[in-house]
Symmetry: C2
Subunit: 616 residues, 2 copies
């Protein structure tokens, strides 16, 4: 029973039985909760001092009895609520029976309630010798059910075992009828989605390989200690594996920490690697947001000339987004040290940098007024300081222009050593990107802050351009201390992570807009046998397979079934063999596009197909 | 401290302190275990009847004190054991100090012991004001440590908090120095392994696509209920996710059950799909056997002509193994219904079919004498019946020969209806495979039984040929009831699963034997800038990237460093730009193979490279 429908059922209960009963149950429950808390304290003190256990154990026993009663009443009321809910619905639906959409929603509701519930209800009615159609709305019946359940929950009573046994039997014999589900926030990639996914991955891997990156594959789960202390508050979203003896493990949360772990573990000082793999986050799933999703990461670790790898990572990001051709985008870019310098200039103490940054980070979704309010009321800045920040973070635009503004005589940044370092680095980076003809994709944006703690230099984020804020599709930056957290030996690194799920969604939409059918297979030839001759098919189609021709075969007398199949799955050629062809030692070659049929000698067909398909 | 070194330490303890002390500790521990068991019973009875708690709580208190003492002694002894172990080692190593290999092994041992242990020891010595180099081998020191620990373990004493606080401090400040680990039974695929993996997958996907299979991707974890009741005894090897609220999930154990779940959930009646993905089993890891490993599955679900998909699945298996070219193999094949018929003929009751099959399945590793013994002594068959089975399961050989033997006049199988069905099916299958020219790969083997319950028809297993039994590398069969377990609607299916890890191992070995360097990247050109000009490099290499040339760049004055890099990573071409080239507006093109250098105008180099690399 879904939460939504339970909510409704409870409302119905409240209106029928009246508030009193429910509030009384609530009161009792509330009181017992206090007792349980008090009991816990008592038990704690026993363990400390070993005295006073007699009354405590008495209390435990009393509480258990009361608890059983409450439980029984809750159960009886729940069953009753469903029944009322159903009868209300039936009453509501009857006059609308001819309406199709209404019928549909009724059907949906029944699925939500689940077969199990009605079984429980039926079983209870049988036990209590109530009529099969006796309504629990009758309060006396309700009391009987609750009383019976209170007895059944008593461990001294064998009734519970019998009840559970009966239930188990029914549920097991019944289990097969329920349709299986998939975990919340996950999804299957069916054939059409796989076709899109494979195309996207091939583009992405192509870019990564063009830049000489090597592939890396790490386990889906890591030791829990590897992930701890890397994600700040987001750690609560990490999926843990159950403790089944042995090590404590968790599913990976991103690909950056496993990469750093890999470098540290293998004492690798330099590596340009890419990894495309699923990561796992126990977030609230929503449209386009999953608990299992792909990330495509490209990172360069090692000592290089200043900005050498930073340039390449940003360049790779532009190539990725250009070659996926999913629409216009921009790359917002900033520098962690510039951000810190800016906050210092504004007179903010360094211990507040992080919390102030997290407010600034909201500027892509909120107005400055909203953020200012937060800075003053929640973060304790003066209104004047908040305004100063506001003046800085409004700065965004073409990188070289903004840079020249920030480095012009009289700029406050020139007096801050951290900021000067950042501005020098950005100058080198922007010049390289300019020479590389992709600086036009970049926007220097002083409001970009990025959440993760481990960034130490350049940070950036790619977003789609347009009126609606669809959020970032890729992000990255420099993290010079992460590998050192594992090995104690610093290995500087910079990287980018592309969130591919949103790209899939956009690509799927583009395909739909183009009204183009996506082929899920690459089959070139359908061997259509007009009959049941498996041996005949096996011989012919195997010759095609041996000749590297992508082929399927079918056995049915009706030639139209073969043709329909070829059309539906986009197979361009058919080789048809019927009785007459068999007798003449020939086969028919049919083009689905032109519908033209040609006859070939049986022993010439493979050669002919190879020629037409360009296979040697 | 690894189990192995702990084992050794314990031996040393035993010889130094004498058996008495240890056996006494053991005795006490044994006795207390009984007490704890008895206590548990008492607590159970309290909960049942609420009486008799006073003496029980007294017992609990006494036990806790004793338990603390035992714990303290175990801890003190463990520390002591390490110390003895170390001093023994030192004594052994000193005269060999000049030997390099010995030094290496000593270093390795220290890593095994771990930094934490020495910290604990040091801390204890400080607390007890023992000299820093005071040996715990001195029994009085040992007693002092144990006594101190027994006190520290008392929750009423604040000493424990102080001790733990100190330890935490040291460990935290020390944590970074420990190298990270990877979970037991998992592995990273570094660049060389990835190159092999990608090659293998491309061959495998090529075969799957040649047969018109569509790709499917399912989540790494499924609802626990989806996996329950599908794997029999092996269910204990399933990895569960922790219960963090919400649904109970487990990591997938194979790809067959998720495939069946997908079909049932989406009401799909026919699908030819492949899936290559990692599966998870909490098995004991050993050489070449992992807890996370790849499976490559190909399955055909749906209603077809008799043996039509069975033929294609076996044919696909031969193509996979042929095209991976990893050595000679054979496919053992049998039929579940023939096996059942055989057991019926031997006079075995149907409820024993499964257990007898599991004995028969051992025939690939054990002699018939061993299996016969098991059948008679464990499974309760008469020696005569076991012999009859033995006569049958010895039959193996070329499929058509064995088939004609089993169907010749007088064959017992002709009187068994199940067996007749199986033999008819096998005849159609073998004929098709024969026409397809791959029956020579198949061995009809009546001893093949296969463990999984869900098989209903043809079963098979591919093994490497040769003297050593390396076990199966692929297996499959028909399972007509699995989808129906989810949806209640039967969808017949047949499939094969290739265990690719062993294939990787073989391919890696083959590469090694060939003494061939596996390139991890595909880079075609190294842009070698003889200096620090990032902007110069950015401009030149970006032009190459824009022209679809796979290129890397480097910034260093030393040309030899560039050349070494190109050689080591197998990059065939270098574009060199130094001061003089820059002044003349030219670049040098160097072939790593011939070492020949040519000079080109700066604006002609991209075109020239495209020509040489065959890129248009």
């Amino acid at each position: 029973m879904s939460e939504a429908s339970y909510g409704r059922a409870e409302l119905v209960v409240a209106s029928v039985v009246g508030e009193e009963l429910r509030s009384k149950v609530g009161e009792v429950f509330q009181k017992e909760c206090h007792c349980i808390a008090a009991l816990k304290n008592d038990v704690d003190s026993i363990i400390r001092a070993s005295f006073n256990y007699v009354p405590v154990l008495h209390q435990v026993y009393d509480l258990l009895v009361k608890f059983r009663e409450i439980l029984a009443w809750e159960a009886a009321l729940a069953l009753f609520a469903i029944e009322v809910d159903e009868s209300v619905e039936k009453a509501a639906v009857v006059p609308l029976e001819s309406s199709k959409s209404e019928k549909k929603s009724e059907k949906k509701k029944k699925t939500t309630l689940g077969k199990g519930t009605s079984i429980v209800r039926q079983l209870l009615k049988e036990r209590l010798s109530l009529e099969a159609d006796a309504s629990l709305e009758n309060v006396m019946n309700l009391v009987r059910v609750a009383h019976y359940l209170a007895g059944a929950f008593d461990p001294k009573d064998s009734e519970l075992d019998t009840l559970i046994g009966n239930l188990k039997e029914i549920v097991e014999s019944n289990g097969a009828r329920r349709l299986p589900k998939i975990p919340k926030g996950t999804r299957d990639f069916g054939k059409e989605q796989m076709a899109i996914k494979e195309r996207a991955f091939s583009v992405i891997v192509g870019v990564f390989k063009k830049h000489g990156a090597v592939a890396l594959d790490t386990p889906a789960f890591e030791l829990r200690e590897t992930l701890m202390g890397k994600y700040g508050e987001d750690s609560k979203l990490i999926y843990d594996l159950a403790d089944q003896g042995g090590e404590l493990c968790s599913l990976r949360y991103d690909l950056t920490v496993p990469f750093a772990r890999y470098l540290a573990m293998n004492n690798i000082n330099a590596l340009k690697r890419y990894q495309i793999a699923k990561v796992y986050r126990r977030d609230n799933p929503s449209k386009g947001r999953y608990r299992e999703f792909y990330q495509c990461d490209f990172d360069i670790a090692g000592q290089y000339e200043l900005m050498e790898p930073d340039f390449e990572v940003v360049r790779v990001l532009t190539e990725l987004l250009d070659e996926l051709s999913i629409g216009d985008y921009e790359i917002k870019l900033n520098h962690r040290k510039l951000l810190d310098g800016m906050l210092e200039i504004c007179g903010i103490p360094s211990e507040k940098f992080r919390t102030v940054c997290s407010s600034i980070d909201k500027l892509d979704k909120q107005t400055f007024e909203y953020v200012k309010k937060e800075l003053v009321e929640d973060k304790g800045l003066t209104s004047e300081i908040a305004e100063r920040i506001g003046d800085f973070v409004k700065k965004r635009g073409p990188p070289l222009e903004i840079l020249s503004e920030l480095t012009s005589e009289g700029s406050q940044f020139l007096g801050n050593s951290e900021a000067v370092v950042a501005l020098d680095e950005l100058k080198i980076l922007f010049t390289a990107l300019d020479k590389s003809k992709c600086l036009n994709r970049v926007v220097f944006d002083l409001s970009l802050a990025r959440g993760l703690d481990y960034y130490t230099g350049v940070i950036f984020e790619a977003v789609f351009k347009g009126t609606t804020q669809v959020g970032s599709i890729a992000a990255g930056g420099r993290y010079d201390n992460l590998v050192g957290m594992f090995s104690g030996k610093a290995v500087p690194a910079v990287g980018v992570s592309l969130g591919i799920e949103r790209v899939f969604t956009i690509m799927e939409q583009l395909e739909k807009d183009r009204n183009q059918v996506i082929r899920a297979t690459e089959t070139q030839v359908l061997v259509a046998i007009l009959g049941k001759g498996l041996a005949l098919a096996a011989e012919l189609v195997s010759e095609l397979w041996n000749a590297k021709i992508k082929a399927e075969f079918g056995l049915t007398k009706r030639v139209m079934n073969h043709i329909t199949r070829a059309k539906q799955t986009g197979i361009p050629w058919m080789v048809i063999v019927g009785e007459s062809e068999l007798q003449d030692g020939v086969v028919k070659l049919k083009s689905i596009e032109t519908y033209k049929e040609e006859v070939f000698q049986r022993d010439k067909i493979v050669e002919e197909l190879q020629r037409r398909l360009g296979i040697n």
